[in-house]
Structures are given as structure tokens and as C-alpha cells.
């Protein structure tokens, strides 16, 4: 994935100097292993800070709503789908955007690599093709990139950008025959009590920091329902009633919109698999309406349109 770095710099330099865009949104190299920082380039002399590797899992579509300038943005498959969602929801104009499409082989999961380091602290990580070399005090290990993909990337079926102005590399082969929902089916098969316990345990570590919400491109409401104070809908404590209310309601707001980009899980500081909720809703929308969010730019999402033939098995 590192090979995109030079292409991104070249494109940014060209677009800025030809005044095609005012700014470029990409990543710059992180200060700690497995992290990069979303970065706004405003002038050509900043272009060389742009960087790309397998730690660019934060969804850059999150930085687009309310922008008034002409902006170029680096977009993986999922980011591009979220750009489509933004376009459908009128959050940004297509003619403001210059999309640098990044055909993607998946981002890596920092948490799993950390777990396998068993408490040893990585001080340096360098990606080289299919390998990630990690070193720290008195150790060096090599991780296979493919083995440590983020769990959403491992089941991704839209690695190539669905909308773009130029591609940073040749399209990659899409993964075929992927079963996206074994975990959802496992939860569906639980008894009601079992499932309730599962949800409570899943959410127990939540500290209500809202990193999941804020890393999500879909969460652009001017005031989130948890921040409403007149009336206050949701309690602010870390009691399971309050945390579950937050996570359930948030998940429902994602139905038919979530692209499973995995930013929420990546951002969570306490390692909660929040995608367990959104994936269930993704599955429902797919089964009911055959719809995948953000894949077709001119197709209205099923939950904001009505067709007389829409299935209604949930009305009893």
C-alpha cells in the first residue's frame, strides 16, 4: 500500500499547482506505530508530508461535510461509498470534490498485532509489501499483512472506489464468495436472554467517549440525540441502560447507510466490536431490499423512498 504515497503526493502537487483544488485531504505519517494522522494540505510545500500505508483505516469522508472549498480527498473503497452516501444526503457537492481513488487491499488491525505482541511494546513498524516489520526493545517480528487485516477489511467486497476522478493504482481484484455475516447469524441464533447478556457484555467496557460516533462519517447530525438537553433523551452515566441506549439508537440511525468501513471499531479506545450492531442492520437491509449502501451513486436508499412493492414482513 505504501506505493500510493508517491502517487498521492504527485497528484496533490499537480492539483494544487494547477489550482484545480484549494486543499487536499489525506494522511500524514503517524508519530506512533500503526497510526497515521488525517491531514489537510493547504499548499504545495506541505505535499511531501502526505503518506499512505495500511494504517489509514480512519474514513476520510468524515472530514467532508460542511466544507465550502474545492477539495481533493484520498478515498479507499469504503471512503468512496461514504462519499456517495454524503452526495445522496446532500452533505457535499460532487463538483466541489476531486476524488483520488485508492484501490485497497485492506487496512491492518492494530489491536490484533498488539495482542500477539503479548505486552511487548512496538517502537517502530515498517510496511514492506506483504510484510510488516515490527521492532521494540530486544525484539523484532514480522507480521503477514493479510493475516492481520481489520475484520471489516477481511470481508470487504468493495475494495475499489465506486466513484473517483482518478485512480492511484490499478483496480484490485474483488474478494469473491465472502460470507459477511457468520457472526450476525451466531447472535441471531441466541435465545433472547442469551442475546441480551451478550449485548451487555459487549458494551460493558464503554466509557461514553463517543469515539465510535465521531469517527463515523454518517454521524453528522448538528446535535446528536445523546447531546440533546431539552429534553434530555438519554442518561449520561455508564450504567448499561444508558450505554446500551446510546449504542442501539446509534446503530438504528446507520441502517441502510453504513458501509462497514470499520472506523468506529478502529477508533474505540476500549476495543468494543460496535460493528456487531451495524452489521445486523446492514444484513437486514440487504435481505429486504437487496441494497448496499453507497455503491450506486444515483440510487435513492430504500429507507428514504417508498415503493408500493417494498417487502413489509415486519408489519404484523
Amino acid at each position: 500500500m505504501r506505493e500510493y504515497t508517491e502517487r498521492i503526493r504527485e497528484a496533490a502537487k499537480r492539483l494544487l499547482s494547477e489550482q484545480r483544488v484549494d486543499t487536499v485531504i489525506g494522511f500524514r505519517r503517524g508519530t506512533v506505530p500503526f497510526m497515521n494522522e488525517p491531514f489537510l494540505v493547504k499548499s504545495v510545500d506541505q505535499v511531501d508530508q502526505l503518506y499512505w500505508d495500511s494504517n489509514c483505516g480512519i474514513n476520510l469522508a468524515n472530514y467532508l461535510p460542511k466544507r465550502t472549498d474545492r477539495v481533493a480527498v484520498v478515498a479507499k473503497g469504503c471512503d468512496s461509498r461514504n462519499i456517495v452516501v454524503h452526495l445522496l444526503e446532500n452533505q457535499i457537492n460532487r463538483d466541489q470534490l476531486y476524488i483520488l481513488g485508492a484501490p485497497c487491499r485492506g487496512m491492518v488491525d492494530k489491536r490484533r498485532m498488539m495482542a500477539d505482541l503479548k505486552g511487548k511494546e512496538p517502537l517502530h513498524a515498517e510496511e514492506n509489501g506483504k510484510e510488516i516489520k515490527v521492532s521494540g526493545r530486544g525484539f523484532q517480528v514480522t507480521f503477514d499483512r493479510q493475516t492481520y487485516l481489520q475484520s471489516n477489511c477481511a470481508i470487504c467486497t468493495h475494495r475499489n472506489p465506486v466513484v473517483y476522478d482518478e485512480l492511484l493504482g490499478d483496480p484490485v481484484e474483488e474478494q469473491q464468495g465472502v460470507d459477511r455475516y457468520p457472526d450476525v447469524r451466531r447472535i441471531e441464533a441466541m435465545s433472547v436472554d442469551e442475546r441480551w447478556r451478550y449485548f451487555q457484555e459487549l458494551i460493558a467496557p464503554c466509557i461514553r467517549c463517543y469515539a465510535c460516533r465521531n469517527a463515523c462519517p454518517l454521524c453528522y447530525c448538528p446535535t446528536c440525540f445523546v447531546d440533546e438537553s431539552r429534553p434530555q433523551w438519554v442518561g449520561k452515566t455508564i450504567d448499561p441502560t444508558d450505554t446500551l441506549t446510546f449504542h442501539f439508537l446509534r446503530a438504528y440511525h446507520m441502517a441502510g447507510r453504513c458501509t462497514d468501513c470499520g472506523s468506529c471499531e478502529r477508533a474505540c479506545p476500549v476495543g468494543i466490536e460496535v460493528r456487531k450492531f451495524t452489521k445486523k442492520l446492514e444484513k437486514e437491509v440487504k435481505e429486504l431490499y437487496g441494497y448496499e449502501a453507497g455503491v450506486i451513486p444515483d440510487q435513492r436508499p430504500p429507507l428514504d423512498t417508498f415503493k408500493p412493492g417494498d417487502p413489509e414482513p415486519f408489519i404484523k
Partner: protein, 350 residues
């Protein structure tokens, strides 16, 4: 009291002796990370840990705490009268706390325990808690305590400092509370010269590994408005998603909100952690928000820690360099970089 020593094999006995007299909180591995929790068995305490994901501030300033309770029953003569919710102030020991986290409580004292105002629960918890620290032999790559006036072997905020010397632990007793706690334990030996030398070597190598990562002093000298209006905030804030990770993980972020929750005819007054990253934080009843932009919120957090606090209390920065925010910020905003920018003599556009 001179330093004492106990072999690793005998240490669980010390923990057990403490548990017989105190509530003992120690680093416990829960899921994929450690947190301070009350232990029921000596083996739950994992002193081989690096640091907890959440700072131990919650032991003194809980995330969500029922302060008062009240009744709203119409005929109840006590209706509407706030009564203190029951709290446990029995003596406790925090075992294995890192020197930086203990130092953080001292920095927070200026907020909760002043001559004008005393937060009764913070103060009582501070009084009834003994802090047995554990020196950091191997600080993390994200640590920078030595650059902000504390260090991996700093005794400032502690009652006792333990050092893991491999085959055992040395203990340096620092306060009367520390003396009392150590006094109820037995099995200690005197420190041999070899152990003492080893301990000194560990201290030196830990401090050397941290080095001095930036010079904080220029920030103190600088004009507050010059920093406030500096152009670099625009770049610092771009990536920020305004979540509460940094503030909630931070040992010195003390801000809170107070809310009433009513259920039927009973009510609770609850104190909750708040975060300057949240739009609701300074939202006025009038509908006006003086910090309605992300830039203003991001700037507030760093200015509070690194400029307003030092200017007001002449007490160093409100940061102990534990590095939690550096490690867990989802978008890699690194406070060390921000300090470097704030302290740079020329505030150049990057």
C-alpha cells in the same frame, strides 16, 4: 526509615496482609487491558503490567457518582431534601500505581482541595487512601514524564515506592501513611548492597531512556494571547474528531457535569465526567456556545493543560506525561508535537 526488601515469592503474602486490613486496589487484567480494581485474591494483582488503559483517577473522581438522593413523594416531609448517597470511605491501598499517575492527583488537588472550596469526597478519599507506587523500569515509547518535571521513579505523589529489582521488590517508605501501611506487614529484609546498586541502575536506565523530549519552559514565558491566537491550532485541530478519549483516559482531566435523574418519585443527583471536547461542554442556557468550533475546543484542552494551569498555579503543566492520549487518540494527535509547537520560539506556519 531506610529502604526494605522482599523477595518476589513472598510478595503475595504482603498483599494478603494488606487485604486483611484494607480494601486493596491493584492493576487487574480485564479483557485486553489492565485497570485498577479491588482485588479479592492476591494473584489478581498483576504488577508485571505496563500501565492501565484508563488512569486511576476514577478511584477518587468516579466516572459517574451518585452524590445525593432525594424523595419526591408528595406527603413526605423530607421530600426535596438532598441526602448524601452512601459511599464507602473505609481505608484502602492502591497497590502498584505508577509515579506519574500518583503525581497527577497532586496536580488535581489544586482543583478539589483549596482553601476556599473542598470537595468532600475527593478530600476524604485522598485521606483514607494510601498509594503504594511501582517504579517504571521500562517506560513506554509514548511516555514523557521526565520532560514535565516528574519521572519513572518519582516519589512526589506516593506514600511508598516499590521497585521491581528482578528477584524481589524494594520499598521506600515516604510518608506516615506509608509507614502505617508497611507497619502491618511482615517479612521484609534489609536491602543488600547489590540490590541497592541494581535499583540505582534501573532508575538511571529508565530515566535515560526517556530523556528530555521537549523544552516546556518557553511556554511559561510566552504571552498567553500570542499562543491563543497562534496559527498552528488550525493544523493541530484538523484531524480531531472531538471524541472524549484523551480527556477520559487522562489522569489530570478533572472536569465534571452534574445532572439530576428522576425515576418515579425518587431522584439522584449524579456527578459525571465531562469533556471539553464535547459541544455541550460550554453550551449556555441562552443557547450561546462560546466554544462552538472544533478549533476552540481542541485549543482549550491544550491551553488548559499547558498554559492556563501553569500560569494560575505556578505548579508545572497539568500533564504528567503518561502518554495515554498519545497511544489511544484515534487520529494520532500527539500532545508532544503540540508542546513542541507551542514552545517553538518562532511560530512559523508548518
Amino acid at each position: 526509615m531506610s529502604d526494605i526488601y522482599i523477595s518476589r515469592g513472598k510478595f503475595p503474602e504482603i498483599t494478603g496482609q494488606l487485604m486483611a486490613r484494607y480494601r486493596v486496589y491493584a492493576p487487574v487484567l480485564k479483557g485486553e487491558y489492565h485497570e485498577f480494581a479491588e482485588i479479592e485474591k492476591t494473584e489478581e494483582a498483576d504488577l508485571g503490567y505496563q500501565n492501565t488503559r484508563l488512569s486511576p483517577k476514577g478511584l477518587f473522581h468516579p466516572h459517574a457518582e451518585r452524590m445525593f438522593e432525594y424523595s419526591l413523594v408528595k406527603d413526605d416531609p423530607q421530600a426535596g431534601i438532598l441526602k448524601e448517597a452512601p459511599k464507602d470511605f473505609s481505608p484502602r491501598v492502591v497497590l502498584g500505581i505508577r509515579p506519574c499517575d500518583a503525581k497527577a492527583f497532586q496536580l488535581d488537588d489544586v482543583n478539589f482541595d483549596t482553601t476556599a472550596y473542598q470537595d468532600p469526597w475527593w478530600v476524604r478519599r485522598r485521606q483514607t487512601t494510601t498509594l503504594i507506587g511501582l517504579a517504571c523500569n521500562e517506560p513506554c515509547g509514548t511516555c514523557f514524564c521526565t520532560s514535565l518535571g516528574t519521572g519513572p521513579f518519582d516519589t512526589a505523589g506516593l506514600d511508598v515506592l516499590l521497585v521491581d529489582t528482578g528477584e524481589g521488590y524494594t520499598a521506600q517508605v515516604l510518608t506516615q501513611k506509608g509507614k502505617d501501611v508497611v507497619g502491618i506487614t511482615s517479612g521484609w529484609e534489609s536491602v543488600s548492597r547489590a540490590v541497592s546498586e541494581k535499583m540505582e541502575g534501573l532508575r538511571k536506565s529508565a530515566e535515560d531512556s526517556l530523556g528530555r523530549q521537549f523544552d516546556f519552559d518557553p511556554i511559561k514565558q510566552k504571552d498567553m494571547l500570542e499562543l491563543f491566537n497562534a496559527s498552528f491550532w488550525d493544523e493541530v485541530q484538523f484531524a480531531c474528531i472531538n471524541c472524549g478519549t484523551c480527556t477520559f483516559l487522562c489522569p489530570t482531566c478533572w472536569c465534571f457535569d452534574i445532572q439530576d435523574e428522576v425515576w418515579g418519585d425518587k431522584g439522584d443527583r449524579i456527578r459525571l465526567w465531562d469533556s471539553c471536547m464535547f459541544p455541550l461542554f460550554t453550551f449556555h442556557g441562552s443557547g450561546h456556545n462560546p466554544r462552538n468550533q472544533k478549533l476552540q475546543r481542541v485549543r482549550q484542552r491544550f491551553m488548559h493543560k499547558l498554559k492556563y494551569y501553569p500560569d494560575k498555579y505556578h505548579n508545572g503543566a497539568a500533564c504528567v506525561g503518561c502518554g495515554r492520549c498519545v497511544k489511544f487518540c484515534p487520529v494520532n494527535i500527539d500532545i508532544r508535537e503540540v508542546v513542541r509547537r507551542m514552545s517553538a520560539t518562532c511560530v512559523c506556519p508548518a
